[in-house]
Symmetry: C2
Subunit: 163 residues, 2 copies
DNA sequence: AATTGGTTGTTGACGCGTCATCAATCTCGC
DNA sequence: GCGAGATTGATGACGCGTCAACAACCAATT
């Protein structure tokens, strides 16, 4: 009798765990994903009183004509589902950053409009936020690394989108 | 009079915005950070009834002698602050995945112990979770890219740790 | 015009994460 | 020993995010 595949003869098929290089990268990714958004949000809140979620919506709103975007489209722009968007818009409306208006072409829809206070908030927040992104991310990366990251991230995103 | 620095003579110092390459990478990073944890958690919940937060704690607990770790140390292992850990342990205790015990050496401290149900849960969840990480991440990246990512992530983390 | 099916947005429940606060305890210098 | 200051962990309030359920509406077919 051949004594082959001793390792794979274990009770159940032993899965293929991460090797050391993979584990190191995975660990670093988890750390990065915990720390980078956290440090950026702490600064954003401290300097401008805005959360990452606020900022995510204020940017596309501030770039739209009249600061007016349909909810469905706003959700698509930031990659959020409807419920998430609705909750966040509700919170921001309470603070006077945006207002909801009804949608003329589609009575189901709703429009989100940036208020003057909302525009003032994003304009005050943007310079230091961009500076922070630069400080923590782009200042320590080379152009070659940026290209590799861009391609790698894109490939992972494509893979996810395949589902 | 020299007509230099026309651009920088604008009303207030115009901040240095992201150039096109930087914006593309930043955008891809934000997308990745939204999508990758989400798809992994959806699978984890569906296949094993565990959240990413559950999994994060179950891994170091399952590797510790007797599945017993002091809270302070568990927090350090996963990079969480005390409050976050306490809340999560509380939720997991309610579901019978862990139990809290008092700490012999330090009366302030508390110990977290993996229950048999907790060990069963992580052992059932791990193979398909690792397979999912492989499917979405490592299967689409080359070894060279892994090295670049590891170095780049590490440098960003070092920068954050400088604060 | 009525039915059927998909789309749009809101809501409530609940898990997750941070912050501020608190009580208990340890540590260290005196 | 004792007191000042630091550490450890728990808690409540609140913002964030997902899911399931729902109401309102549109579009296409008959």
């Amino acid at each position: 009798m051949m004594r082959q595949h001793l390792a794979s003869v274990a009770r159940v098929d032993e899965p293929r765990w991460l090797d050391e290089r993979e584990a190191r990268v995975w660990r670093a990714y988890l750390d990065l994903n915990r720390e980078l958004p956290a440090v950026l949000e702490r600064r954003l809140v401290r300097d401008s009183g805005l959360s990452n979620a606020d900022y995510s919506l204020l940017v596309p709103l501030s770039e739209a004509p009249d600061g007016l975007v349909r909810s469905r489209e706003l959700g698509a722009m930031v990659g959020w589902e409807r419920s998430r968007l609705s909750h966040q818009v509700g919170r921001m409306e309470k603070r006077g950053l945006v207002v909801r208006e009804e949608c003329a072409e589609d009575a189901r829809g709703s429009m989100v409009r940036l208020t003057p206070a909302g525009r003032a908030a994003i304009e005050a927040a943007a310079p230091s936020h961009v500076a922070a992104v630069r400080r923590y991310l782009f200042d320590v990366l080379t152009d070659e690394e940026l290209d590799v990251l861009g391609r790698a991230f894109g490939r992972v995103l494509d893979r996810i989108a395949e589902d």
